[in-house]
């Protein structure tokens, strides 16, 4: 029910922004190149209000606007449906030349394009990646009274009898939580198809299943697990980072340390339309770099417990190419690739 209801949140926001948008999107795509931007800019969150994409889009427009980095008005538009697929279908066909409509995305833009079911024919290559803004990592989490306290013993038991261990996550098979759940097993040489994965409606329900003993292990992101970790309710067996994180997470081993080469970054970034002019790209390269260095943005990141990680357009595109290979490899192993 959560997923269904989530869409409702966009409601009033939608009503508000609809008014603003009709005013500014009508002449989209025809901006003359010299004085870009000459009109208000819309940042789309391809989901309802309240989720990660939406919050990123709102923080981004807020800081860019308040710090006067971008002089033109910036508004957020929610475009829910199909885990971002509804938005991509429209954006990649109708807005290819409209530099006044940007959007925020994360790994699902790759996953949706690669998986067989619920596929969208449009991926990051139908856009201009402008910058990566934040990062998060996958985490393998068990209850505090679980018999497992390291990833190797879990993998050993999983190898012996995969029917004994139930993994859970907050999203459907073939999507992010599932990939995180099976990544260590896959890299440890276990057939990922044999791993029992139960999907719940959202991360909250998955944590509830773990705490209530209805799941043995969950695949999630480390920031969602942190409060339960602090409260001593869960153990984090490993994270999908290349090296240990700082602060509260400094005692958590990476999965890589255990000799399993499982790395996966949950990035969030900003994208533009496929056909952007050089001066438009340069404009955002400069502004987003300045944003990343501003104090206001650092405060915003801290307030949301987001880890900063900045990549400019070129690095970001290259990174997306590498991530695409990894995801494709996993989906193929799961028999879920297109």
């Amino acid at each position: 029910m959560n997923t269904r209801h989530r869409k409702w949140s966009s409601f009033a926001l939608a009503a508000l922004s609809a008014v603003v948008l009709t005013a500014c999107s009508s002449g989209g795509g025809s901006g003359s190149s010299d004085n870009y931007p000459s009109k208000p800019i819309v940042v789309v969150a391809p989901s309802g209000a309240g989720g990660g994409w939406d919050k990123t889009a709102r923080s981004l427009t807020k800081v860019l606007g308040e710090s006067k980095l971008v002089e033109k008005t910036m508004t957020v538009e929610n475009k829910p449906g199909g885990g971002g697929a509804v938005f991509m279908a429209e954006y990649a066909t109708q807005d290819t030349k409209n530099p006044y409509r940007l959007f925020v995305s994360s790994p699902p833009i790759l996953i949706n394009n690669l998986k067989k079911e619920g596929n969208t024919p449009y991926g990051y290559k139908d856009t201009t990646p402008l910058a990566q803004l934040t990062k998060d990592f996958g985490a393998i989490v068990v209850s505090v009274d679980s018999k497992y306290s390291d990833i190797q013993s879990l993998m050993a038991d999983l190898k012996a009898d995969p029917t004994k261990i139930t993994f859970a996550g907050g999203s459907a098979p073939g999507s992010m939580d599932h990939l995180i759940s099976v990544l260590p097993a896959f890299k440890a040489g276990i057939d990922p198809k044999s791993v029992k994965y139960v999907s719940y409606d959202g991360g909250g329900e998955a944590i509830a299943a773990l705490l209530g003993g209805n799941a043995d292990v969950i695949g999630t992101d480390i920031s969602s697990a942190s409060e339960y970790l602090k409260a001593g309710k869960v153990k984090v067996l490993g994270i999908t980072a290349s090296e240990r994180l700082g602060g509260d997470f400094k005692d958590i081993p990476t999965i890589k340390e255990s000799g399993i080469d499982a790395e996966f970054t949950i990035w969030r970034g900003v994208f533009g339309p496929k056909e952007m002019k050089d001066n438009e790209k340069a404009y955002w390269a400069e502004k987003l770099k300045a944003l990343n260095e501003s104090e206001a943005w650092k405060k915003e990141l801290a307030a949301n417990s987001w880890e900063p990680e900045f990549k400019g357009s070129e690095d970001f595109s290259k990174f997306l190419g590498e991530q695409e290979v990894l995801i494709k490899e996993m989906l193929t192993a799961l028999g879920m690739a297109k």
Binding site: A12, A14, N304
Partner: protein
């Protein structure tokens, strides 16, 4: 310090004039949000998060968080109060938890008892709000422990019981009610299957990936269906405008509602505690329960005040219950609580196991303000009943276009697609023909809500047990639900066989 001491401290914080003001603004906006069809509590809360951030920006972090969450929670339960208004007056459910209220509420309004229906809804909501808050204060810890034990097997059996109880929504023919239930279940399969990740009946159309939107279907069936009927049957030609009648409920109304309100409050509270079950189920279940318990089940669907009192109490009580997993475990039980949680996190307050230890003043301030907010809502709503009730005195030539306009606006504002508008109109036409032929609409809507939950939880349970069906029988709570479901179906049949006259045999 014990609970009462904490609660007293909470009241000290909630009774500061600025927090009283925040609570008042919250419930006022919430009432408006609830009354406006289409804008549900979730959207209202989400919309106000940036506004509250600005309003509280001058305060220190903790008191800013307290004030903000008091306002936002006010919107949440305020919307639950207001949600019944359009269901009763216009047959247009403002949000999913008010769908069942249309069944008897709209009939009451047509009989000139709109005032009674609206005031009973407000009184029921108030009592339910208080009951669920007392539950929240006293039972939060133990209940949250039980709630997380509730696994897929238990949910499955509970939902199956709900489906078995669907007979309670039948009007004349059980067969037709069952047909509609199955249609609802079938429609519910459209979209990405959440357990296997397979797309079903989507034909590669992205708009169908998330399935048909529940509220589009409900508003189409109920509101537009009614509009089409009024137009096609020229009901408006009679020129007879419905009179509002008395605003206050009669003594008999109050007497009839007392039991349903009490039972609805308790049931709603316990269902609300379960993450993912929510206000919609609470309202459906309490309606069905009242019909089953009533000595005059034939009055339901024809303007029985119990049919308004019970679901309206239940959906309000469930919003109190839903605060338990949110505050004690950081698990949002519904879409709206997920947004509330997001708001708290923005203030660097993490709902979860540590909330009551780390930020007791916020948790208890919120709980205390909910007591105050509920009282404000009652005082606010009773005079408003008179104003709102006047709406139905509007001549149909103005009223019908207004209903169509708000239905279309509401649906489009959420979904942003013309597809949903076509679906809305399609459902309106379907609703008209179904009602003409005595097919009840509520079972279809219930099937649509229950379908994915039954299916997903069954398959989650079976994945966990490696395909062993005995999991549903070996878990005691699950077994209990299944037994009740079986009895629910069998007992009336046995009674019928022994020659007793029971409602279920009406079709003969």
């Amino acid at each position: 310090m014990d609970v009462l001491q904490f609660l007293a401290d909470g009241f000290v914080s909630a009774l500061q004039w600025k927090n009283l003001l925040f609570a008042f603004v919250g419930v006022l906006i919430g009432t408006a949000v609830g009354v406006l069809p289409g804008i549900g509590p979730m959207s209202g809360v989400a919309l106000l998060i940036p506004v509250t951030a600005t309003l509280t920006s001058g305060q220190d972090p903790d008191s800013a968080a307290t004030s903000a969450i008091i306002l936002l929670a006010g919107v949440y339960y305020g919307a639950m109060y207001g949600g019944s208004t359009t269901s009763i007056l216009l047959n247009t459910p403002g949000e999913s938890s008010s769908v069942v209220t249309t069944l008897d509420g709209y009939q009451m309004a047509r009989q000139g008892r709109a005032g009674s229906a609206l005031s009973i809804a407000a009184i029921g909501s108030f009592i339910a709000g208080i009951v669920s808050l007392i539950g929240l204060v006293l039972l939060a810890q133990p209940l949250s422990e039980i709630a997380i034990r509730f696994g897929p097997a238990e949910y499955f059996s509970l939902m199956l019981l709900g489906l078995a109880a669907v007979s309670g929504l039948a009007s004349k023919s059980m067969t037709k009610a069952l047909i509609m239930t199955v249609v609802g279940l079938l429609i519910a399969t459209i979209g990405m299957d959440n357990v296997s990740g397979v797309a079903r009946f989507t034909y590669d159309i992205p708009v169908l990936y998330t399935g048909l939107e529940f509220l589009t279907v409900a508003v189409g069936l109920f509101a537009l269906g009614e509009v089409f009927k009024t137009i096609l049957h020229r009901d408006y030609m009679n020129g007879e405008v419905v009179k509002v009648g008395r605003v206050r409920p009669t003594r008999q109304d109050l007497k009839d509602s007392a039991g349903p309100i009490a039972r609805g409050s308790l049931l709603g509270f316990f269902i609300g505690v379960l993450p993912g079950a929510g206000a919609t189920l609470a309202s459906f279940f309490s309606y069905i329960m009242e019909k089953k318990l009533s000595r005059h089940p034939e009055k339901f669907g024809k303007g029985a005040i119990e049919g308004v009192a019970a679901p309206e109490s239940a959906n309000n009580a469930s919003s109190g219950g839903a605060m338990i997993p949110l505050l004690t475990l950081g698990i949002p039980g519904s879409g709206t609580t997920a947004i509330l949680m997001g708001a708290l996190i923005m203030y660097n307050v993490q709902p979860g196991p540590l909330l009551f230890e780390d930020n007791p003043e916020i948790a208890w301030g919120l709980i205390a303000s909910m007591f105050i907010g509920n009282l404000m809502l009652l005082i606010l709503n009773m005079p408003l009943v008179k104003v709102f009730a006047k709406i139905i005195e509007t001549p149909p030539k103005y009223l019908l276009p207004i209903i169509v306009a708000i239905s279309v606006f509401g649906v489009y504002a959420v979904q942003y697609t013309t597809f949903d508008l076509l679906l809305l109109i399609g459902c309106g036409i379907a609703g008209y023909f179904l009602v003409q032929n005595d097919y009840p609409l509520a079972p279809l809507v219930l099937g649509l809500v229950l379908g994915p939950m039954i299916e997903n939880n069954m398959r989650r349970a079976l994945t966990g047990s490696n395909g062993d069906f005995s999991i549903f029988l070996t878990k005691p709570i699950s077994l209990a639900f299944l037994l009740i479901a079986v009895l629910w179906l069998i007992v009336p049949l046995l009674l019928k066989l022994r020659g007793k006259k029971v409602l279920i045999s009406e079709e003969g």
